[in-house]
């Protein structure tokens, strides 16, 4: 039986684990966007915070994923359920590209444009939403893209703490020394990463300011 026959035969399980995987990645990316973009905006306007925030996000990024899951396990409420834990860990990993790209994108806006806007009486809020964010959007999106691709890969490890997702196949395959099972997890995960990368890349190009 080859890998494709296996996947067709177990399609409901493949689908279920893929959806679980998407859920982990989707929610964590959403949370990372909601936290990372405001943080990026904050440090772009308040340079004192720039170093500590970026350094913290960097340090999180360097913690090995299994260790991070381990560190988070004793947390109340979160530690109770594996998927909460996995989402928190994935969110933390996705923060760095989001904070960094938001920061870079906003700092990259032509100072003459910001100056003209301020001189004409735009409020800080209007400058942010009508000038800075629209002009930084493609850089921010490329941060989202990096975050999603990292998350799709990392989320396979979430199965190690029982959070589900395509990692289930992989860990089962490793335990049973069954390459077909490993591939049944790895191929859809790779396809997801590729799909996310391509579609977000397309969107990024579309939204690049002219």
């Amino acid at each position: 039986m080859n890998i494709f026959q296996f996947m067709v035969q177990n399609h409901d399980q493949v689908l279920e684990l893929t959806l679980e995987h998407l859920w982990l990645v989707g929610i964590s990316t959403l949370l990372a966007v909601l936290i990372g973009i405001p943080l990026g905006v904050l440090i772009a306007h308040w340079p004192v915070l720039n170093k500590p925030v970026l350094a913290s996000a960097n340090i999180i990024q360097t913690i090995p994923s299994l260790a991070l899951f381990g560190f988070l396990l004793p947390l109340p409420w979160l530690g109770e359920r594996a998927d909460r834990l996995a989402i928190l860990a994935l969110t933390l990993y996705a923060l760095l590209p989001l904070i960094r790209n938001t920061y870079t994108g906003i700092r990259g806006v032509d100072p003459a444009v910001v100056e003209a806007g301020r001189g004409m009486g735009l409020t800080d809020r209007q400058l942010l939403f009508q000038v800075e964010l629209p002009l930084a959007v493609s850089v921010i999106l490329s941060g989202v893209r990096v975050a999603v691709v990292i998350s799709v890969g990392l989320a396979t490890i979430a199965a190690a703490i029982g959070a589900g997702g395509l990692g289930e196949f992989i860990f089962r395959g490793l335990a049973m020394v069954n390459n077909q099972l490993i591939l049944a997890g790895a191929i859809p995960a790779a396809a997801l990463a590729l799909f996310a990368d391509t579609s977000l890349g397309w969107l990024e190009k579309r939204l690049r300011p002219r």
Partner: protein, 260 residues
């Protein structure tokens, strides 16, 4: 009514100094009055403090000492957003929003001021005509325009909410000589019709003498003198004379080249 608004003073600097965040004294003891309806030119070499002076008017910068008054009121005490919206601002790099069409760029201040859409559209058309922009350019983006066209959009945008006061920072500085000449000529015609109070920054003596009703010469953060263009050419002041000499040297050497 305040004294200065009765006698036609639009802007007043009283003993204004500005020290930059790095501790450099950029302006010291600046006193000047800009009269309503005049084109007040700030002339000086680069680094002399012209841009800083302009930014003190719309409070992009605040004085370290002294007071700047616009329409009789100290700028330190007024709502800064309202102040800026009541003052047109044109900068050398133009600063058009690259993600806005020409139309949206021009209509920016009316829109944030909450004008109705059809009134904005009308105003944008009126202004495009005023500054000589062809209607077909309305839906273009700034990068699709020539330098001269961009500068026209910059002027139209500054005039959009019909401010009585206009600040222009080397608006024609980066244009080729022919386009610059054309825009200077149109500026004079426009000013005959609109009678705005204009503070115009330039390092070009010819431009200063052509456009200014009065020319203020700045050097190293100080005001050297304020003169009408005719007085400027005759002045005995050594700084002014140096400018006039440099200006004439350019003309003379060009005129003499054929005879050498």
């Amino acid at each position: 009514m305040d004294r200065s608004s009765t006698n036609g003073v639009a802007i007043e600097f009283r003993d204004v100094s500005y020290v930059s965040p790095t501790g450099q004294e950029v302006l010291s003891g600046l006193n000047l009055e800009v009269l309503r309806g005049e084109t007040f030119v700030l002339l000086g070499r680069s680094g002399s403090g012209k841009t800083t002076t302009l930014k003190l008017v719309n409070r992009l910068l605040s004085p370290s000492a002294g007071e700047v008054r616009v329409d009789g009121a100290a700028t330190a005490g007024v709502d800064v957003i309202a102040l800026r919206r009541s003052i047109g601002y044109v900068i050398q790099d133009v600063g058009l929003f690259p993600h806005f069409t020409v139309e949206r760029n021009i209509g920016l201040v009316p829109r944030i001021e909450g004008w109705a859409e059809d009134r904005i559209r009308e105003r944008v058309q009126e202004l495009s005509q005023l500054v000589g922009l062809e209607p077909r350019l309305a839906s273009r983006y700034p990068r699709q325009l020539s330098g001269g066209q961009r500068q026209r959009v910059g002027v139209a945008r500054a005039l959009a909410a019909d401010p009585a006061l206009l600040l222009m920072d080397e608006p024609f500085g980066s244009l080729d000589p022919l386009t610059r000449d054309e825009l200077q000529r149109e500026f004079l015609l426009l000013q005959q019709r609109l009678h705005k109070t204009v503070v115009f920054v330039t390092h070009d003596v010819g431009e200063a003498l052509r456009l200014g009703s009065r020319v203020a010469l700045m050097e190293a953060g100080r005001l050297v003198t304020v003169l009408a263009p005719q007085e400027f050419l005759r002045s005995g002041d050594p700084w002014v004379a140096a400018y006039v000499k440099a200006f004439k040297a350019g003309l003379d050497s060009a005129a003499n080249r054929g005879t050498e």
